[in-house]
């Protein structure tokens, strides 16, 4: 059977775009068009093979084993075209394999942009961004990344291609694109999407402040947000992390740095910056050198390296629990460096870099123990782990998958919680 | 149809309501309390429209929603058509009675009304033996049936307050009648109402001013009697207006208090008496407002004979009205109508005290009064 599948795949995408994965009963296929995706899925279905979508950063070794079952890893790297750019409506129809960075390169010369999202979206493919739903992709200016999805095209398990239709908003039943967004390839293979894009802001303003405590900084952030401030970026950096990221700044223990970027029409960006400034001052803060914010922003755009190590652990918390979760993590892992970002009115994300008190990265069992301790402390203080799935919905998800994919070929290992 | 409306006008109102997207539904206390769609003003008017056009037969069961209205007029606040569903439904009730499709609980109501009215009038002289009575004069006080029946203490308190304010011993109207007859109209007994109105009018005419303790009586005499060709030249005011007219004579409060004021519908929406009670109370206490008050006040369920036709719903309305106060820690609720006081009192949750306006004034000003030893009196 295996050679048949290989031949069938090669017949669809051409021999150059299919290769077996060494040591596994699996192939990596790179279709060049949505029609080829459909044919690959049909061929896989005929062979009873699993279809596993692959975005940027595929590592065959990391793939969960499916026992003896054949796997077809379908890469979107060749689906990297901008299909249509509707500048009048600020909509961009793109194929799923395009990365955020590549899309920005198309948009930037036209004065357009994907928007002020966290920098992590630049390295991901559009298909990956839509297919995996995490709260870490929100923007205080534009909302969650999935809110930017006006429509998707996908191939279903039976090879049918669907296009959810585009409208600014509609009341014609549920939002069908939202079934596919977050479905991790289990309901359909996303081949293209229509994204809401933005004009590049007329101006971007940066500001930095030192607050007497992380608690005060958190209070200041929400004070500004509740006055409808919509920053392009906002981050609270605790003293430990600031010493690493902004070594030239002298901070007392317990103090925190707040860096902020605002964008939009000049008056509005200035208004947002002033709102943050007055909130910071109201909470006992003082202005800091704007160079701090400039540096943070450059790193955010990938123009300057970010001092490592990368955050090891992140949790989300509502405004009420954020400070408590911060202190809990700090108490659990005294050397931890933390920052707070991804602000929204109903909360923010805490990023912790777990290091020992000398500042060295933790490794091995020590790292695992610190991670477990920090996680336990944070959740006890009211924070949530990211990416958990509602167990109550598990049977409905299973039924939905069964309805669309009766033979269970679509990424069968994904979205299944260990029992 | 009642001859009090022109047919064309009733038809217009019924059609307006039939085709209206239910714009007043949130204001209807009966349907909000029950959740029953058939009891929203639009549905009740639509039903009456079908009965009128003959596409629905006059039967007691089918006509039941006509009785699910307290006549509170809250719906009219949100009506751009200027419709009066409460009044049109009264005409519908009259038609139902004539068609033999009246409410089961109101069989023989005319008789029962007359008997109770006479009993209360007689009883008043026994229970309020110390009070002055008069058949005529300058100012008379007519407390209303529910006060005479269940709130005699409030009557005594009002009289004590009048004396304390230097208004003299305002005598009770000695007419042999306790009620101006609104319940008869609400029961669809138009002829009985007209006949009763005539008797009331001749009794009231002997006074220059009559102070009324019942908001429905005040409404009936000032607004509804004219429709029956009965005119009363006598000045008719509520206790709240009377106190407000003489507010300068109010004694000072002897203690600080915060009170909520519940607007009787017939005062607030049918007579525009909104500021008067608040001015009186405001002089003596901090006045707090319900979420829905003044012209937007929610009905306590006492009107339209609802306590007779749908007693459980009427009580639920009163409980609903007070739940807001209970939820925010309780307190004192004042109202300026004997029927409202009765409804609210008997449904007050723990922590909520209900006071008649005059009684509260007496309490706040340390005005002594002697509650009559009345077996029917509620604490």
């Amino acid at each position: 059977m295996a050679p048949d599948l290989h031949a069938a795949l090669a017949a669809v995408v051409g021999p150059d775009h299919v290769r077996p994965v060494a040591g596994q009963h699996a192939w990596l296929v790179a279709p060049g068009s949505p029609a080829e995706v459909a044919d690959v899925i049909r061929a896989s279905a005929a062979a009873g093979a699993a279809v596993v979508p692959v975005g940027a950063g595929f590592r065959a070794a990391r793939v969960k084993s499916l026992g003896d079952r054949a796997r077809v890893h379908v890469a979107t790297e060749r689906l990297d075209q901008v299909i249509q750019l509707d500048e009048a409506s600020l909509l961009c129809h793109v194929q799923a394999g395009l990365t955020g960075a590549a899309l920005e390169q198309v948009l930037a010369p036209r004065g357009l942009s994907l928007g002020d999202y966290p920098p992590s979206i630049l390295g991901s493919t559009i298909g990956g961004l839509i297919g995996v739903r995490t709260p870490g992709k929100s923007s205080a200016r534009h909302g969650f990344f999935e809110d930017a999805v006006a429509g998707v095209s996908a191939v279903l398990a039976d090879g049918r291609t669907i296009h959810t239709r585009v409208a600014p908003r509609r009341s014609t039943g549920p939002d069908l694109a939202r079934a596919l967004s977050g479905s991790e390839g289990t309901l359909g293979f996303i081949t293209a999407a229509v994204l809401r894009i933005h004009r590049r802001p007329e101006v971007r303003l940066l500001a930095a402040f030192v607050l007497p405590s992380v608690d005060a900084a958190i209070a200041a952030a929400f004070l500004a947000l509740r006055e409808e401030c919509a920053p392009a970026g906002l981050r609270i950096v605790d003293a430990a992390e600031a010493r690493r990221h902004f070594p030239e700044t002298a901070l007392a223990d317990g103090e925190a740095v707040v860096v902020a970027a605002t964008a939009g029409p000049t008056d509005l960006a200035a208004c947002d910056r002033d709102l943050i400034a007055s909130a910071a001052l109201a909470e006992g803060g003082r202005p800091a050198d704007v160079a701090l914010a400039e540096r943070w922003w450059k790193r955010r755009l990938g123009l300057e390296p970010i001092p490592g190590p990368a955050p090891t652990f992140q949790v989300s918390a509502g405004p009420r629990h954020l400070a408590a979760a911060y202190h809990a993590i700090r108490a659990a892992v005294p050397g931890a460096r933390l920052h707070v970002s991804r602000f929204d009115l109903d909360g923010a994300v805490l990023f912790a870099t777990l290091v020992d008190e000398a500042g060295a990265a933790l490794t091995g069992p020590a790292a695992a123990a610190a991670h477990a301790a920090a996680e336990a402390a944070a959740t006890a203080a009211g924070a949530w782990l990211l990416g958990a799935r509602p167990t109550a919905m598990a049977p409905y998800l299973a039924a939905l998958r069964a309805a669309l994919d009766p033979h269970g070929i679509m990424n069968p290992g994904a979205l299944i919680d260990p029992v | 149809m009642s001859d009090r409306f022109t047919t064309a006008d009733v038809a217009r109102q019924l059609d307006d309501c039939t085709f209206c997207p239910k714009m007043c539904r949130h204001a209807c206390p009966v349907s909000t309390t029950t959740g029953r769609e058939s009891l929203i003003p639009q549905a009740k008017m639509d039903l009456l429209n079908r009965l009128r056009r003959g596409t629905e037969a006059w039967q007691a069961d089918a006509a039941e929603p006509l009785w699910a209205c307290t006549g509170c007029r809250h719906c009219t606040v949100y009506c751009d058509h200027g419709n009066e569903p409460g009044l049109v439904l009264l005409a519908g009730r009259a038609a139902a009675q004539r068609a033999g499709a009246g409410h089961a609980n109101l069989v023989g109501y005319g008789e029962r009304f007359r008997a109770r009215d006479q009993r209360l009038a007689t009883q008043a002289k026994e229970h309020l033996a110390d009070a002055p009575f008069a058949e005529g004069g300058d100012v008379g006080f007519w407390p209303g049936c529910d006060s005479l029946d269940k709130g005699a203490a409030d009557v005594a308190a009002a009289q004590a307050v009048f004396v304390r304010m230097g208004l003299g011993a305002v005598p009770l109207v000695d007419a042999g009648l306790a009620c101006a007859g609104y319940p008869l109209l609400a029961a669809g007994l138009v002829d009985e109402f007209r006949w009763h109105a005539g008797k009331v009018a001749s009794a009231l005419r002997r006074f220059r001013t009559v102070v009324m303790g019942c908001s429905a009586c005040r409404y009936a005499v000032t607004a509804l009697f004219q429709g029956e060709g009965v005119t009363v030249a006598t000045e008719v005011v509520s206790v709240a207006e009377f106190l407000d007219d003489h507010a300068a004579a109010l004694p000072p409060a002897t203690r600080a208090r915060a009170v909520y004021y519940h607007d009787p519908c017939y005062l607030a929406r049918s007579a525009g008496v909104i500021d008067e009670p608040r001015r009186v109370l405001g002089q003596l206490a901090e006045v707090r407002e319900f979420a829905w008050s003044g012209v937007d006040a929610e009905c306590c369920g006492g009107g339209g004979l609802l306590p007779k036709t749908m007693p459980a719903v009427a009580d639920a309305m009163a409980r609903r009205r007070l739940a807001e106060i209970a939820a925010t820690g309780g307190g004192t609720v004042a109202t300026a109508c004997g029927t409202c006081a009765l409804m609210l009192r008997r449904n007050a949750p723990e922590g909520v005290e209900v006071r008649d306006l005059a009684t509260l004034v007496a309490e706040l000003t340390d005005t002594a009064f002697t509650p009559p030893a009345d077996p029917g009196d509620e604490p």
């Binding site: 739903r133 809401r196 939905l400 309805a403 | 029953r36």
Partner: protein, 552 residues
């Protein structure tokens, strides 16, 4: 055949006898909503063609779940019912069954100032919800002209939009989670805090499902602080195209006015007479029997909304205008004119333009936090002027605000006079918006007098709200014309790439057009239906979903 008595008994076992009804009057009421096509039958004295078997009023999600299990066991459908204010027939029990009225579930719980969210039960009236929030210093921001009659659950089930949606979004933009009873009778929560969950977004799959997947029993909704400042302004643009362009520029600069309304020439003309008869003396309670207080003797204070003299609505004015300007037509009655809609559309349009010579009116309103609103207002007004709009000052904006729900009262006189009126709200991206406007207007205009305004604007597009008035001989002819209007209008919308509904929903009215709207993607909806409601218990036959049930 359904054993009605058994249904009643089983329901009574769940909620008690007092919260179950099989009274004919209740069944009749719950058989319909405000779908204008049903009003045509109503006007003709016709009884509903299908009735529910029973109506039930649950007070908790548990009771709802038990009711759904009863229905599932007995094989009868469930139709959820909120305010019955829908205009698409969504609550019509086409296969009979149990109608579940949510209006006894009205609590507001879990009010959390820090996160600006609250949990609210589905049956709460929209107006009551907003009043309660206002008392606490917040707003949900959804102000549909049906706010007096609709429920929160109805909003969520249909993806409703309010007049301030350009700032606050449609309801689906402001939901942090739902509690629902599925078609299998289970109670589930669709999202956790901060959307901190993986997998498909169940909240967005349930919003807009119009009761076909389950019954929403409560929702966690995002709130905003009550506005500290409100700035309303009127503008004038030469024509529709210029107005569209002006709006697009404002929205795409990242500005978010709360209210955006661009009236086409005819709508502008009809509305220009609405100069707000706010004279309280105009209120007359004309019954000898019911002399409500007249001004000067304890008059009622000005009420929201201000009472208007009844018969002279904008549409009546339209008729008057049409009469005046088309004397050459034989017969000068309103209805006679409505029999010649194409002629009226063109004549009235021309006359309106000639008389008004003012182009189109644009209402813009901003509200929110003081500082930011001031800045945004200045930027918005400046952008509009740059786009060629002429500032008319605050009066038109204030006047609109004062009468913003008035449109809902205009149905009655039209129906009373033997004609009918309905509205069709469609939407499209900016690049297709002008096409959408002309295509739908032309399609409807063959059968009805039609006018439109543009509201609910977004960075990527805008909705168009068409109002049409028509007349035909008897009920059958009216229904034929009504159906023809909708077929022509919706097919035109689909043809140019617009959506067939921006916020009214699907119900029965748009069911036949759902496949044109979603095409192959209906497969997803059908799969979601099989997942959440495998036995087709929930509101069968709606939303364009096929049902194997047989009509009663």
């Amino acid at each position: 055949m359904v054993d009605a008595d058994r249904v009643r008994r089983e329901l009574e076992a769940v909620v008690g006898a007092r919260r179950v009804s099989v009274r004919p009057g209740d069944l009749d009421t719950y058989a319909r909503d405000m779908w204008p096509r049903l009003l045509l039958a109503r006007r003709d004295g016709a009884a509903p063609t299908t009735l529910p078997t029973a109506v039930v009023w649950p007070e908790t999600a548990r009771e709802v779940a038990a009711i759904v299990r009863v229905a599932r066991t007995l094989g009868v459908p469930i139709v959820p019912y909120g305010g019955g204010s829908g205009v698409c027939g969504g609550v019509v029990p086409i296969f009979g069954g149990i109608t579940v009225d949510t209006k006894r579930m009205t609590a507001i719980r879990g009010f959390r100032r820090d996160e600006q969210v609250c949990d609210v039960e589905a049956g709460l009236s929209g107006e009551r919800f907003e009043r309660e929030l206002a008392r606490r210093g917040y707003t949900f921001g959804n102000f549909p002209s049906s706010i007096y009659c609709s429920t929160v659950g109805g909003w969520l089930a249909t993806r409703a939009a309010g007049q301030l949606s350009t700032k606050y979004g449609k309801v689906e933009d402001r939901v942090a989670g739902l509690t629902m009873v599925t078609g299998t009778g289970d109670i589930v929560d669709t999202d956790g805090p901060r959307r901190a969950q993986g997998g498909p977004d169940w909240t967005q799959l349930v919003l807009g499902s119009e009761g076909t997947l389950g019954i929403i029993t409560s929702a966690r909704l995002r709130l905003a602080p009550a506005p500290q400042l409100r700035v309303f302004r009127g503008f004038e643009v030469p024509d529709v195209a210029a107005g569209i362009e002006a709006l697009r520029r404002v929205l795409q600069r990242g500005l978010r006015p709360a209210v955006v309304r661009l009236y086409d020439e005819l709508d502008t003309f009809v509305n220009s007479f609405g100069s707000h008869h706010a004279d309280p003396a105009a209120v007359h309670f004309g019954h000898t029997h019911a002399p409500a207080p007249l001004p000067g003797e304890g008059a009622l204070p000005p009420l929201p909304p201000r009472p208007a003299p009844p018969p002279t609505g904008a549409l009546a004015r339209l008729a008057h205008l049409a009469q005046r300007s088309t004397r050459q037509l034989r017969g000068d009655a309103f209805t006679a004119l409505l029999d010649r809609p194409r002629l009226v559309n063109s004549v009235v349009g021309t006359v309106a333009e000639r008389i008004a010579r003012k182009g189109c009116k644009l209402i813009i309103g901003l509200e929110g936090a003081r500082l930011r609103t001031e800045v945004e207002a200045a930027l918005t007004f400046a952008e509009l002027e740059r786009a060629g709009a002429r500032d008319l000052g605050e009066d038109p904006g204030r006047a609109w605000l004062a009468r913003r729900y008035a449109v809902s009262y205009k149905m009655s006189p039209v129906f009373r006079d033997g004609a009918f009126v309905d509205t069709m709200e469609v939407a499209a991206s900016w690049s297709q918006l002008t096409d959408l406007y002309y295509a739908v207007r032309a399609a409807i205009g063959r059968y009805a007098v039609v006018m439109a305004h543009f509201s609910h604007a977004y960075a990527d597009g805008c909705s168009i709200y068409f109002t049409f008035v028509a007349h035909a001989g008897d009920r059958a002819a009216s229904e034929r014309r009504y159906d023809a209007i909708w077929k022509a209008g919706l097919e035109a919308a689909t043809r140019v790439g617009g959506t067939i509904s921006h916020h009214h929903g699907v119900g029965l009215l748009r069911g036949p057009y759902m496949h044109g709207e979603h095409r192959e993607a209906m497969a997803i909806l059908e799969a979601v239906k099989r997942s959440l409601d495998p036995d087709d218990v929930m509101n069968p036959g709606k939303l364009g979903l096929a049902s194997a049930r047989r009509s009663r």
